[in-house]
Symmetry: D2
Subunit: 139 residues, 4 copies
């Protein structure tokens, strides 16, 4: 079960389809079951005090599960999130990117399920965990 | 158990503490157990095709549960989301605000739990539902 | 959109298909969008100290969302839970049944979404809340 | 940060405190951050057709996160689940035990967070995933 899109193809697709936010994210690595992405933290992701906002962490988890799914099914912009459960566990470190490590747990005909651990770059205790379900558009 | 902050007090507090995003949201109504809020939808919340982004819907649910909690415990900026589960159920209508109806299900010493239904303004079938837990800072 | 199974039809179906657990549950009321069910609390649902076990509360929420879905789509034993998020908020009262109030939030071709509030009989603050997604078998 | 209870101590504690269900579960392995447990599948866990019931899988995830937490904080029967999100992804294999692999993602003063992957014994694709939060009783 090879990947249908590599990191470069995913980045090009993201720029085409989500140009408003594509510059927020980088794709470090992708395989059949794993994806590593990065939130390039900027002023717009911060809350007073310098912490990264919850919606920014959610957005990283959401785009990561989307890209992991597309890596396997190819460029289908219409895959949509149906469910996300997210636990915020620690305050992110200031001044560093967030790294998301995504695993593809299921790829069915109709649904994909991923889980994601989010870390401050250079730390080994997670800031957040999330699990997401995507509905895959019929062929 | 009266409220400690009314809609005006919540709006002032939000402008003080989250000035980056305070203009995105309006507070329509608050009582001891219920809050109605609104995402003032703008270009920055949209995805290509005109649909509202998942992170924007998450942000509305998150700020709503936060404000519902603060309405009861007073202005404690440090309340933090510990968990959110969200189901995206329908595509939002184009060109209208999102309305969030929040219920406070539990207000404990350490945790509050809310659920939120999100509607496109004027519709009566929900776009999304979410449940959120906030950790309340100790006195 | 009328219901395809009323409370009696649901009870008969449950006895046929889940005979191991059908005696644990009663169906008080069903409409197009709402269902009220009851866990008939017995020794096997209890933990030491007399509290009702988490898996018993989960089971009540799960069967309730299943029956709510079947009330609308008819007797399809193969509908399966794909996701559940549950918050345990208060200790159930001792010696009384649990009541589950279920709302159907979405009934699509492939997925149904319900939320459930669980109460100790006679109380008006919820013991638990849950949201569940069921995958509906294709015709 | 050593463990405060090893697999034998956890098994003895479970038999003391949850004697109704202790025989359903075995503890294969425990370390500071990981726990492997097993649902000893019997007739009472099955649905017609031989599949394992959702509440039985939930119970395995729930007891696993509880035991992982106790392994680190010691025998505190009063730790309670506050939240669980669970995805059911595949039908379990018939006639084999379920294995749960639990990771401790956070151990705070008030809350612990674990995630759990559940497998049919001998398979390497997961049947279910769950994440759970436990409230830790104050000292």
């Amino acid at each position: 079960m090879p990947i249908m899109m590599d990191a470069d193809a995913l980045a090009v697709f993201m720029k085409d389809v989500f140009k408003q936010v594509a510059d927020d994210f980088a794709i470090d690595h992708v395989s059949e079951t794993d994806l590593t992405t990065r939130l390039l933290v900027g002023e717009r992701h911060l809350r007073p005090g310098g912490t990264i906002s919850g919606p920014s962490i959610f957005a990283l988890a959401d785009v990561s599960a989307y890209l992991m799914t597309l890596a396997r099914i190819g460029p289908k912009a219409l895959a949509v999130t149906t469910n996300c459960s997210i636990d915020f566990m620690r305050k992110p470190a200031a001044g560093v990117d967030l790294i998301a490590r995504t695993r593809l747990l299921k790829l069915g005909k109709l649904l994909s399920v991923c889980d994601v651990l989010v870390f401050s770059d250079g730390m080994d205790t997670p800031v957040a965990r999330a699990s997401l379900t995507y509905a895959i558009p019929p062929k």
